[in-house]
């Protein structure tokens, strides 16, 4: 199939890359995790402040990311933060990597898929870590 660089590096992707949303670190985060993609050297760190109303299930009140790497990894992390803010953690956990990729709306070479889902993987791992803490009662 013929496809063009413009499809992969679409305007909204480039916009998120150049003007990342929710960039930085939240204060006193409940969730914090960072990871990298050794193949590319992409790095993403994500911090989350939760809404922990006693009667409700925890939701994401604020989320920020930072890192460095290719346009796909950084833009997809930026898009992810917009998508998940306000969501319940349990719903975030139900998200599938396929959806994350689909939400980007771009054709991806297989080797670049890792870049596209790095942000999501970091968030997911952060949530697991957070829940692990709760379970162990620390």
């Amino acid at each position: 199939m013929e496809f063009f660089a413009e499809d992969m590096y679409r305007e909204n992707i480039m916009d998120h890359f150049k003007n990342p949303r929710n960039h930085g670190v939240v204060e006193n985060p409940d969730i914090g995790f960072a990871d990298n993609n050794p193949l590319c050297g992409d790095e993403i760190g994500i911090t989350v402040k939760l809404n922990k109303d006693k009667n409700e299930k925890p939701t994401i009140a604020e989320i920020k990311f930072n890192g460095k790497g290719c346009a796909i990894s950084q833009a997809s992390a930026s898009m992810l933060t917009e998508q998940v803010v306000g969501m319940r953690l349990e719903d975030v956990k139900k998200m599938k990597t396929d959806e994350v990729i689909k939400n980007l709306g771009i054709p991806l070479q297989p080797i670049r898929v890792k870049c596209a889902i790095l942000g999501f993987k970091v968030l997911e791992a952060g949530i697991f870590l957070y829940e692990g803490k709760k379970v162990s009662g620390k």
Binding site: M1, E2, F3, F4, A5, E6, M8, Y9, M14, L39, C40, G41, D42, K68, G69, C70, A71, I72, Q109, R112, C115
Partner: protein
């Protein structure tokens, strides 16, 4: 000398007619692996269709032919690199296995405090085996420094050989240096390094990683004063899965085998085993017979074109590419900014810049660059090139890399330049 006819050469490489994303393939990832001419592909087919059998075992015609072909391939390789005898040529899977063979086989003679010396710019294949060996045996791993002074554009990436005078001591047991770096594109003066190594410490062993250099230039081990030379067939027109270790016969004779089993033995009793002659002592088990034979075919092909001609052709492309890349202020080249134009220098290969050009465009990640090149049908490498420690010194996550071979053309350089323009437009 007949004019270099690149179009004629291209006719032998069917893959160059492939379309990638609807565009003609431009293959500029030769440092990773080369394409194969139809002569090599045909030879592989012919082997399986006419003489396929196991070697050195069968008392039948096919086995005799396969054994003869496989031995002849060792002879071709020996002639190709100027080795004295075919016993000095051991077939392995690739350069990585050749280097590991050395690390495993030589490790018994090393003791705590001994030193191994490599450079900062080695491929992981010539890095990790020594690093891990050093850890296991408490050896000291030392690194010769590469010039990474970004203000010294012409000499960026070169290795000052005089430092070996200090670095090689009585404790130094192994020195292993690449002849042609797969990132920086520089060739190191391994002849001079070899001289210093052996003068400073006659018992030190000098290994040359020829994975890149043997594919692109005329190498003569007699002139290099190296004890071992390692390289891979797949980077020089042969199939994957066949590599070479050259070693001086007297050294190979003293060394322990790397693997044990069939073919490498002379006599086995319940109590002990005596080993086969060279090179078979180091080729345990059924080897890649077709790969060995077709490596011979690849060498025939390279010799027909002429290694000097190939080197000169690639130098021309490199010079042109460097000139065109210099049109961009925001393209950083990680290697010497120009090639040595002293065309009469017969030792050019010992100290020059070659057709491996690593670069970055502004701060754009190399994978983004490679992805956009791919949309143009241009295959380049983006990443750390199996040299992560060097990437750390360069302070980059990776680089994009263009690398040439005998079938590349100036027009392909122009296409790469157009792709750079496109990258810049998308990221503007």
């Amino acid at each position: 000398m007949a004019a270099y006819n690149v179009d004629k050469i291209r006719e032998d490489f069917q893959i160059l007619n492939v379309k990638v994303h609807g565009k003609p393939l431009v293959y500029l990832d030769n440092a990773a692996t080369s394409q194969k001419p139809k002569q090599v592909i045909d030879a592989e087919k012919e082997y399986y269709e006419t003489i396929n059998s196991n070697i050195h075992r069968g008392v039948h015609k096919l086995s005799e032919d396969a054994s003869a072909g496989y031995e002849e391939a060792h002879e071709k390789v020996a002639d190709f690199i100027g080795a004295k005898e075919f016993e000095e040529i051991i077939f392995t899977r690739n350069a990585t296995e050749s280097l590991n063979l050395l690390a495993y086989s030589l490790c018994n003679s090393l003791k705590e405090g001994d030193e191994i010396l490599i450079t900062q710019a080695e491929h992981h294949a010539n890095f990790v085996p020594w690093q891990q060996l050093a850890k296991q045996k408490r050896l000291k791993l030392k690194f010769a420094k590469v010039n990474l002074d970004s203000k010294d554009k012409e000499n960026f990436g070169t290795l000052d050989v005089s430092q070996f005078n200090e670095l090689v001591t009585s404790k130094t047991k192994i020195v292993s240096v690449t002849q042609m770096g797969n990132v920086l594109g520089t060739t190191n003066d391994v002849r001079e390094i070899g001289r210093i190594v052996h003068e400073n410490n006659p018992s030190a062993l000098f290994i040359v990683d020829g994975a890149q250099s043997v594919a692109h230039s005329k190498i003569d081990v007699k002139k290099l004063d190296c004890d071992f030379l390692t390289f891979s067939g797949h980077k020089m027109l042969a199939p994957t899965g066949i590599g070479v270790l050259y070693g001086k016969k007297n050294l190979l004779e003293q060394m322990r085998p790397f693997m044990y089993g069939g073919d490498m033995i002379r006599k086995v009793t319940f109590d002990d085993t005596s080993y086969n002659d060279l090179p078979w002592k180091f080729e345990a088990g059924t080897p890649n017979i077709a790969g060995g034979i077709t490596l011979g075919t690849a060498i025939d092909y390279l010799l027909k074109v002429g290694m000097e001609n190939i080197f000169a052709h690639e130098q021309e492309l490199t010079e042109y590419a460097l000139k065109r890349l210099a049109e961009f202020d925001d393209v950083t080249i990680y290697g010497p900014s120009k090639i040595d134009n002293n065309k009469n220098n017969e030792n050019k290969i010992l100290n020059d810049r070659t057709g491996i050009i690593s670069f970055n465009i502004d701060k754009i990640h190399a994978h983004d660059v490679a992805s956009i090149f791919d949309q143009h049908g241009i295959a380049i490498r983006g990443g750390h090139h199996c040299a992560m420690p060097l990437m750390g010194l360069l302070d980059v996550a990776g680089t994009a890399r263009i690398s040439f071979y005998l079938y590349n053309k100036k027009e392909e350089v122009d296409k790469a330049i157009d792709a750079i323009e496109h990258v810049k437009k998308i990221f503007a």
